[in-house]
């Protein structure tokens, strides 16, 4: 199944690439630390490759099924002003405001 060799140790570039996917801006010391530690942890995790799982279906949840089905009825939701009270920035101070504010995305 493995079409690649597992990296025994991560390079700085690999760690930075993963960090970018995870929206983390690591400092140089962290990059170094994670290069070492992620390699160690994956070496342990790689034990799962020893197990013969041919024909075994994956388990997403240990116990099921659950009560997913219920009538799709509209019920009151959280109050917008209460929710926006936690926002670092919003247009709440304005009457009728109901938006989170973020840095300008378009032009």
């Amino acid at each position: 199944m493995l079409a690649f060799a597992m990296p025994p140790e991560f390079t700085r570039a690999q760690v930075e690439a993963i960090a970018a996917l995870a929206h983390l801006e690591l400092d140089p010391a962290e990059v170094e630390m994670f290069a070492r530690q992620l390699g160690d942890i994956l070496a342990l995790a790689d034990q799962v490759q020893q197990v013969d799982t041919s024909g075994v279906s994956p388990t997403a949840y240990g116990v099921g099924p659950h009560s997913a089905d219920r009538p799709d009825r509209v019920v009151p939701s959280l109050d917008i002003a209460d929710v926006l009270a936690n926002a670092p920035d919003s247009d709440r101070p304005r009457a009728g405001g109901g938006f989170f504010k973020v840095p300008r995305v378009i032009g």
Binding site: F34, L42, N86
Partner: protein
């Protein structure tokens, strides 16, 4: 020796009128004031709200006569949302977060007459086994203040062990209730996945996360579970399975009970004092008429790799929501992407970043099949091991933790060593099964030891009955550290 009151004793005293809820509440707050500066079980103490609530119970005594938690002070792990009370998950990124709603368990505790006295310390986002990953400082073990209380629900276990509250709620993803309960010498219950609603629990590993009680006794845990368990329209994974009367099942009867012991799994890596105490506990159950059966859990040795692959994958996805947009910390930047990544860099601690990184990697293109999918397949085999074991036995017994609580800082630089100590707890989370930790002795250094009992899905009744029967024959649960009785 003056053992702190149990949940049942506290409730009965309030219901009978022997004590007022306000008096009970003031005592809990006084114990927190006295012991918490040295133990750091609590992030937030809600003294005023708690006293107002206790007074409300006292002035409406008739209404709370049948309430299962009338006047019982409760500590809540700080990853459980409380309307109007700061909920941090021990993270800088949520340092200022005040939820606009209550978790379902909080609503249920309230309806049962409980008095919330505060929010307890834990590892950041419940990631850890020592409570050292809290951004606001570690909790300390009431039995030895230079040692960890276990984690991630360390503050919840400390609160009960130190006699601050007779009940606290913790949460589990890989052993975070049972392990600190064992290390602090108190009772911990991880319910079946789906037994308790997760609505309002800050998500970590959504296919594992489950809320459960920390108490002094199995009976107290049975009372608390009866309150918090049951279906919830706000959580589609909360099961429709009927909630039995757990306390009615505590008959003391253990004749005919079949207890499985995975002897081979215990052959290596278990502290000698812990192994001895657990074997003695199993002998006690045998003497009560239980049959002890040797069982095999051939894939249990893969539980840690499977857990750390699947749980970190789920965590990397769940924690994507902390980006500085809707709540918590924001590192103000001119560009949106920079705002996300700077906020997360500043807001998360090392262990959380480590797990997000690992989870992101195992889910990334080219690695998904080899790690995530493969781990989920091995998870199936771990489930089958338990299914086969439960054809022959009713309960599986083993230690909760292979090691006693270690000294603060001792393992901080070696996350892998920390992960390996989860060996006996994570498989119940992978399989979704209920499990308890009940005090069963002390090491030569007088550090608490826990016996773990795992049951069939939705059969909390049998493990609670077994643990309660064990408590009837032993005095370990009555032991309290000096700080609890001062």
């Amino acid at each position: 020796m003056n053992t702190p009151a149990t949940l049942a004793e506290t409730r009965d005293a309030v219901v009978s009128g022997a004590r007022s809820a306000a008096d009970v509440c003031r005592e809990a707050l006084a114990r927190i004031d006295a012991a918490d500066p040295s133990l750091h079980a609590f992030h937030t103490v809600t003294a005023e709200r708690a006293l107002a609530r206790a007074t409300e119970i006292d002035t409406n005594r008739a209404r709370f006569r049948g309430a299962p938690l009338a006047g019982v002070p409760v500590g809540l792990k700080d990853n459980i949302c409380t309307n109007g009370v700061r909920t941090t998950a021990s993270s800088r990124i949520l340092e200022t977060f005040v939820p606009p709603y209550d978790a379902t368990v909080v609503t249920r505790l309230h309806a049962a007459g409980a008095v919330l006295v505060g929010k307890t310390n834990c590892d950041e986002f419940a990631m850890g086994s020592s409570t050292e990953n809290s951004a606001f400082g570690p909790s300390r073990n009431p039995w030895a203040a230079d040692r960890i209380p276990g984690g991630s629900s360390g503050g919840s276990a400390v609160a009960v062990a130190a006699g601050m509250t007779p009940l606290s709620l913790g949460s589990e993803t890989g052993g975070s209730i049972r392990q600190p309960a064992a290390m602090c010498g108190v009772f911990g219950l991880k319910p079946t996945y789906g037994r308790v609603s997760r609505y309002g629990l800050l998500a970590f590993g959504s296919s594992f996360d489950q809320i459960g009680p920390v108490t002094r006794t199995a009976r107290d845990a049975a009372i608390a579970l009866g309150v918090i368990a049951g279906a919830d329209p706000a959580d589609s994974t909360a099961s429709l399975e009927a909630v039995p009367d757990y306390t009615a099942g505590l008959t003391g009867e253990t004749r005919g009970l079949r207890i499985g012991v995975p002897s081979r799994l215990l052959e290596t890596g278990v502290d000698a004092d812990i192994l001895r105490a657990v074997r003695t506990a199993i002998d006690t159950l045998r003497a009560r008429g239980a049959t002890i059966v040797d069982i095999e859990l051939p894939h249990a040795k893969y539980a840690i790799p499977v857990y750390y692959l699947v749980a970190t994958a789920e965590a990397s996805s769940n924690l994507a929501r902390y980006d500085g947009v809707r709540y918590g910390l924001r590192d103000t930047q001119n560009e949106l992407g920079a705002m996300y990544s700077r906020t997360r860099e500043r807001g998360f601690g090392a262990e959380v970043k480590r797990r997000i990184m690992l989870g992101t990697y195992v889910l990334s293109a080219g690695y998904y099949d080899a790690y995530y999918l493969k781990a989920q397949q091995v998870r199936t085999l771990i489930l089958r091991d338990y299914a086969q074991a439960f054809e022959r036995v009713d309960v599986v017994a083993m230690p909760t933790s292979p090691i006693p609580p270690f000294k603060l800082g001792e393992r901080a630089s070696d996350p892998l060593q920390m992960y390996l100590a989860d060996i006996f707890t994570v498989s119940a989370n992978l399989a979704g099964l209920p499990a308890v930790s009940v005090p069963c002795g002390f090491t030569a250094d007088r550090l608490p030891i826990g016996l773990q009992l795992t049951g069939r899905a939705f059969d909390e009744g049998t493990i609670l009955r077994t643990a309660d029967a064990y408590e009837r024959d032993t005095e370990w649960w009555k032991q309290a550290p000096p700080i609890a009785t001062r």
